[in-house]
Symmetry: C2
Subunit: 204 residues, 2 copies
DNA sequence: AATTGTGAATTGATTCACAGCT
DNA sequence: AGCTGTGAATCAATTCACAATT
């Protein structure tokens, strides 16, 4: 089960399945077939089954999957069991919106602090907003491994170098730029303008 | 050159190349090799060349690509030449941050209006914020084809049905849910929690 | 000499088809 | 009878290798 050769897209889908499972649990459903779960997640049932077998066998033939068991297993695989501290760098429009966005905490992430060159405290937020100069020490002391990057493109690479140096291993990048990182660091980029542009290609 | 069988990932990369080209133009560079441009975009040079040949031949062997010509061609392919109106639905934290985010306009998109069930005007924004009840008429009248969806998951499908009915053909979805749309409608989903979860799988 | 453009080879992901359990 | 798990087949994307061009 070498971690490295499981398709990244499968990992993405695991998160989606997990969301669907949560909803089933809320409705006290305790068993689900690959067919039904796949439909909710918008994929083919054979793909769902294939995705799951990367990690083991969790279903009962003839019956389906136990919702609680499957959900717990996926949580385990995704590392959702221990609350993961995250920092956010760049408290502009997008950064401060993300700080207020509740979705992260709900999925097991704690935004431990935010950093900016000109930190201003934000009304109604209990997340500390600190100066960039305190960032490296914070990362090291709290052993933070994940960062959300919402700085302008012009400073993205510079900030990246700093946080990687301090120990960050995974970056969710919102800056519209390609980051250069050592190969042991993972970057997921969300480029809003690129997403829109991509859509505009498909309409006529 | 059937529009349908060009890999979607190639289209994504076209946007990235375009960004890199803009930077080259700012620096008055007028020729670039596939090797150099690919490096800036974070891909292999052969992939860049393959991506471009889906649309034609734009380079000069032995020399490289003319920056202006290539940039104009990509703009043409991506439909960046005519300003594309977009609406945004759901003016919460994320929605209002995106309204303030300058990146869209810079790439040729005009957010024509925003809609919410409880519209409150936003300080320092010249984008009209209207009630949901006015949405369908607006879409039809202005012939808007693209929408950014930043409503809660619970109302995402409902709103989607409404905007698709009114004529929207492409949706950039930020709601953490799988949208069900007719096959002539394109959806790009950006699920922030899923992106983070995905990263957390790769750190150890 | 340098660099593009591209068919062929490779690698990767998805889907099929069905054997194997419950 | 129903549904999972999986090897084989297919389909898609990437990379290689090199001929073609300036």
């Amino acid at each position: 089960m070498a971690r490295i050769d499981i398709p990244r897209k499968s990992i993405y889908r695991l998160s989606i399945y997990q969301r669907c499972l949560s909803r089933l649990r809320e409705n006290d459903v305790d068993t689900v077939s690959s067919e039904a779960l796949a439909k909710a997640a918008g994929v083919k049932s054979t793909q769902l089954r294939k995705d799951l077998t990367y990690f083991g066998q969790f279903g009962t033939r003839g019956l389906g999957y136990n919702v609680d068991v499957l959900s717990a297993t996926i949580a385990e695989v995704l590392g959702q069991n221990h609350l993961q501290p995250v920092i956010l760098v760049g408290v502009g429009n997008l950064g401060s919106a993300l700080l207020r966005y509740g979705g992260f905490k709900k999925e097991g992430f704690e935004v431990a602090a935010a950093f900016d060159i000109a930190p201003r405290s934000q009304a109604g937020l209990d997340i500390p907003i600190l100066h960039l100069s305190e960032m490296a020490a914070f990362i090291k002391e709290r052993q933070v491994k994940m960062a959300i990057l919402t700085v302008p493109a012009s400073s993205a690479q510079l900030v990246t170098n700093q946080i990687v140096e301090a120990g960050i291993q995974a970056i969710l990048n919102f800056s519209p730029t390609v980051l250069d990182v050592p190969e042991n660091v993972v970057v997921n980029s969300v480029d809003l303008a690129v997403e829109l542009e991509n859509l505009s290609y498909f309409i006529r």
